[in-house]
Point group: C2
Chain length 389, copies 2
């Protein structure tokens, strides 16, 4: 086992003098504390005896119902109560999917780079993680097809392809509609499962919404993962998985000995938050807030970064991906950055093979607006000094 | 994997016409909804930006501090912040301990009968579960010693001994102080770890408190598991593990890819509930409530059960253990009981080897007082009819 660097870095963000672009944290100003207070007050008065009791493993019915209505509206797919389970955050979704699908030596395909705690979760089950490079339009479908062919040729059976199609972590890029269709075709041809992880899809600041892969899934080969962490509050630990009934039943059996059930208070809070219509105006509010933060960071990068350093221009999500000059090492530079009281996540942590030494991830949603420009300035100075050495 | 029968039975308890003695559920009347409402209101106003944010994997500092103070008072042992981690309920504690300690083919020793979801959790890691019979004073220490000797003779290395020393689930019995000392001696002689699971220790209705095994642990071989589920609210999913620093560090590494962190709202609620002193008066209140329920059930059993059926007389906890006549089958009788609208958990589910066919577990904390007598009457009629067949 290997400690998650993001988790360790979270501790740094607790030091008030550090400007942290490290963790994938929402802005603390984005939490609707007044509405949560009101909802909990109503819950305690109206049905405290359910809200504080054990719940069923598959999750609170009121929440699953509210999510099905919302998923139809926002993601364009219909599902029934048997197709959805609640988990204690997307990390638990990944852990349960690993428990159900992965035996030692099994193969999975992920992006390079990709969410490092997903790779860690799959490796906990001793899976072999193969990767496919990402470009400005997400995962490279031609490369994927060739990769699958090569793996099949060598007798490597593949359990699933893991993708974050919209505002990908860590790059911030999205797979186009065409790319999504192609991914489904490839999966169909080779009879593979797709794991569609969609924590950021609703955080769009410009451009047209893209269809979820699940909405184009005709033969039940997409497992869709959603979460409330980025659009309401990660501290509630509420997420969901949507897929075929036989897979859901296996996931429920895997969840029972893992934690019996997800915290019921959090489930009921989210159920009311969605069903009483608070969520849409809240998402509007945080889109505006995060768009502004993204623009401040992009402008500061434009103004301050030395020639030769490049970065992505995400239409949504939480991250900008920086590429330093060839030969620069983001990991050794991080120590200097922390001395200058600014933090990021090193890019090689997101590559299953440890490549990408000259890349790094910046989060733009957590820091205060007036700190973003300052932090980018400090980073630019660190990089400039490194480049002149 | 095998579905947990208790979880499935929970669904039955949702049918209002069934009197359920099945699940290990607190009484819904025992939830301090007014205080939780007040605490959440204060939390949202005073520190909502922390309470709804991600937390560290080891748990919220305020909660760990509050628990250390309380554990010293109630369990008689001192520990530091590095010795305690927060988990999403005791079931997750068992899962994480399994992740850290168990490889396929490893051996663990449990009681017979014991908490079935513990056995299930250990078996998820393909451990071999050996069992030692329980009597009126908990696990049989002579048998345990002989068992360990036999296992060592056959080259079976043992990872830990799992015990619920106080008001054991499912029997309701407790290991005496002498038994606890003997268990520690045996563990020391054979250099074994003890997993002390203590969900019910504070639910004492008569008799003198027993020392925790951890309080007598001189060489760090006891991992102590506690939970808020039975004394405050299971729906919050908050529990803890106390032990040596090197073990804690491994558990933190195992928890990271499992769920990143336990829900922070629940952690802050419990921290305030303990540190602001609500917990002691609440435990007084539920002790009184549950003592009454236990006494109603014991009286009803005394008055109504046919000759030859016996049961335990627990000084605390949540369960009474019934032994039917030799040859009777609690599993086949359960169907008839459900037809008569009363439910229990079959005893053989708690035996790792599936024995105990003529035993069953009754929960006395969840049903309304006026239903307990009625339910025991229905059960007695079912058993009587079975005995006269």
């Amino acid at each position: 086992m290997k400690a998650s660097e993001i988790r360790e870095l979270l501790k740094l963000t607790e030091m008030p003098e550090i400007i942290s672009f490290a963790g994938g944290l929402p802005s603390p100003d984005a939490f609707p504390t007044d509405i949560v207070e009101k909802i909990v007050s109503e819950l305690m008065r109206e049905k405290g005896k359910y809200v504080l009791q054990y719940g069923t493993t598959e999750g609170v019915s009121a929440l699953r119902k509210a999510l099905l209505v919302r998923l139809k509206e926002t993601q364009g797919f219909e599902a029934s109560m048997e197709n959805i389970i609640i988990t204690a955050g997307s990390q638990q979704s990944l852990d349960l999917i690993g428990k159900v699908f992965l035996d030692p030596g099994d193969n999975v395909i992920v992006g390079a780079p990709t969410y490092l705690a997903a790779t860690n979760a799959f490796r906990m089950f001793q899976a072999n993680v193969e990767s496919v490079p990402l470009g400005d339009n997400g995962m490279d479908m031609e490369y994927l097809e060739e990769k699958i062919r090569q793996m099949e040729k060598h007798g490597k059976s593949i359990k699933f392809i893991y993708v974050i199609p919209t505002f990908q972590n860590p790059m911030g890029v999205s797979l186009t509609t065409e790319g999504r269709k192609r991914l489904l075709e490839i999966a169909r041809e080779h009879d593979l499962l797709i794991l569609e992880d969609d924590p950021y899809g609703e955080l769009r600041y410009e451009g047209e919404p893209l269809p979820s892969i699940k909405s184009m899934d005709l033969d039940g080969r997409v497992l869709y993962m959603g979460t409330i962490s980025k659009v309401l509050a990660p501290g509630l630990r509420i997420a969901w998985i949507v897929g075929e009934v036989d897979i859901m039943n296996k996931l429920i059996l895997a969840k029972q000995p893992t934690d019996l059930c997800t915290n019921t208070l959090g489930q009921h809070i989210v159920a009311k938050y969605i069903s009483e219509g608070y969520i849409n105006s809240h998402i509007e509010k945080i889109r505006k807030m995060y768009r502004e933060k993204r623009d401040i960071m992009l402008k500061a990068l434009e103004e301050k970064m030395p020639e030769g350093i490049t970065w992505t221009h995400p239409e949504g999500g939480m991250f900008i991906w920086l590429t330093l000059l060839e030969g620069m090492n983001a990991r050794s530079i991080l120590e200097k950055a922390i001395t200058e009281k600014v933090a990021y996540v090193v890019g090689d942590a997101f590559f299953p093979d440890g490549s990408g030494k000259n890349t790094l991830r910046l989060n733009f949603t957590n820091a205060d607006n007036d700190k973003i420009e300052d932090g980018i300035g400090r980073l630019a100075a660190v990089f400039r000094s490194e480049m002149s050495d």
